[in-house]
Assembly symmetry: C2
Homo-oligomer: 349 residues x 2
């Protein structure tokens, strides 16, 4: 800590602390150019940097937002974190990173701590159906943006939800497979009960119905009810899923994975079984992480416009924080995009 205070600057410039403060806080409008110059010189010369703790103590607000993700080790969340940090930085905000490992209790503890640290806004990446446990704080003025989760019955009225249109995305995915001639489809996911898992499954079923297929005939693999897989193991889970599905009497010819990491695991499992991706079994992922394009074969997937979503999340949060009034509840559903690469191919007997 440089240790130079606003008083020293004031003394150096021959003005009062409030003048310095005014300049610092953009109230330099009616200031004499000469005064202004003097203050700026003094700040420069002394290398003055305002003390944020003092400012926060006074104003009750700091320039920090919290980000709670399942795990930044997952490239999807890592990429999101980077975009969010970039958006925040542009507005002079910093980002406090929290990895929940998808534990609802940890999510709650994190948000509580952030709130009591004076952080005005949090982006919560939780796919929990109920955010009940956060609501007391939202009631007290916390701005909360739920990411990767759509609005649910019972949500607080000032909750903002930002996510992909998962139903549409999954529908796009399954339709692509059906158009390629596949009839025996599988859906692979981890933990049941997450909002977006439910939605993606819904879109998957819708597409089957659209094509006159019975969703009840589809193979659904959900990782065994009692397992709660970490966010990275999802790849290992895809691998296991593929092994089990391909050992079925009537195995699927195409697999929709809940996300790209899972799809990468499914691909590994297909190879483990001695089969070829696309020509033997088609695989489609979800997210379009950087690695989807690098994989072998490159992964067909549903793209989420992460940069735009991160920017929107931050913009909402900032408005909520700076307006001082509760945010107006809303949901933002981004448009998914089918990206066809080489992990999907036509059905062949």
């Amino acid at each position: 800590m440089a240790g130079v205070t606003i008083y020293q600057v004031a003394a150096e410039a021959g003005v009062s602390p409030s003048t310095v403060s005014n300049l610092l806080n953009g109230r330099a409008g009616r200031m004499l150019p000469a005064t202004r110059r003097r203050v700026e010189t003094a700040i420069e010369q002394l290398g003055y940097r305002p003390n944020r703790a003092a400012r926060q103590l006074r104003t009750g607000r700091n320039q920090v937002i919290g980000l709670v993700v399942p795990s930044v080790a997952n490239p999807f969340w890592g990429t999101f974190a980077r975009h969010l940090e970039a958006a925040a930085l542009e507005a002079g905000y910093h980002v406090l990173l929290c990895n929940s490992e998808r534990d609802p209790e940890r999510e709650r503890r994190y948000v509580e701590e952030l709130w009591s640290d004076g952080i005005g806004g949090v982006v919560l990446c939780s796919s929990l159906p109920s955010l009940e446990h956060m609501m007391p704080m939202v009631g007290e003025g916390l701005s909360l943006v739920a990411f990767d989760r759509t609005a649910q019955v019972g949500d607080h009225e000032s909750l903002v939800n930002i996510s992909l249109d998962n139903v549409l995305g999954a529908r796009l995915a399954a339709r692509h497979l059906i158009e390629l001639g596949h009839r025996r489809l599988a859906f692979v996911s981890g933990a049941l009960g997450s909002v977006n898992r439910r939605e993606r499954f819904r879109g998957f079923s819708d597409a089957l119905e659209d094509a006159g297929l019975d969703p009840a005939d589809a193979l659904v693999w959900s990782g065994g009810a009692d397992h709660s897989y970490g966010d990275l193991d999802v790849a290992g889970l895809g691998r296991t899923a593929a092994a089990e599905l391909l050992a079925e009497p009537d195995p699927p010819t195409a697999i929709v994975a809940i996300n790209d990491m899972c799809a990468l695991g499914v691909c590994a499992g297909i190879r483990d079984a001695g089969l070829r991706i696309a020509s033997d079994v088609s695989v489609i992922g979800f997210d379009d992480i950087v690695l989807a394009d690098l994989a072998s074969p490159p992964l067909t997937t549903i793209r989420q416009p992460l940069a735009e979503m991160a920017a929107a999340a931050f913009a909402n949060l900032r408005t909520g924080i700076e307006s001082g009034t509760p945010m107006h509840g809303q949901s933002l559903l981004m448009r998914p995009e089918l990206v066809i690469r080489e992990s999907t191919g036509p059905y062949s007997t």
Copy 2:
């Protein structure tokens, strides 16, 4: 912000604020058990949470460390961030995330801001040879741990460096290839001038010499001097590198990539050229990111023990911050481990 202060707690418990403060700060030793009980009850009842800004203003320090990484979108850094956050959390610290995009100027600005925000310690993941620009702050008391970078001539005496033994790692990598019979090796990297690029290249050269080969005969591809590739494009760079190297009159039969992301790109480039990995061209990476095992074929690589490294980084930082005295400069070089998978194979004419 709950808004309940230490005064309200004191009033509720019928004691003075200092007594409450004493309890809060572990100075409850000589306190009457009855008093203590009363205060604890009051805290509980009012749901009191100390205001961190006020505490920081008073003590000058907060429970936050800064993490500056090139980009958390890169799975290697994402994984590191997660491990570091876990270590910090255990000690009650939070982590502020900064993505430098490998821009030295951004690195400096970030660290300066963190320092003036009252953050006592920073883990800086920079492979810049000189950390000169951080030194004024270190001189003033900032605890700085440089990660993924070894000690350099001219470093500040209280700088702690934590990294892998890159020379040994790269030597292990190249030796593995040579033992498989390869004689025509290539080394692929991005930006020149980073400390660990230099070290890895050194280990690569050493291994060639060990085997009686002339390092000058090796193919070195470094992304073109004037390009400064982002941390993710490193995969695209590997892809380009492979294309160019394989178009040479006398192409390499084995490639050492600067890291796994780059290696994944190299693999993509090899496939683009219609060749097969391992049987036609061997590829070895560095880091052992999660995706190395998921890739097709699974990537042979040099593993960095990231969790241990993150724990060590935090432990050092914490000691530095809490002791209040400058850290004792030292370097920690972790032992690399060769992980043989399927992207490397014997040389065949």
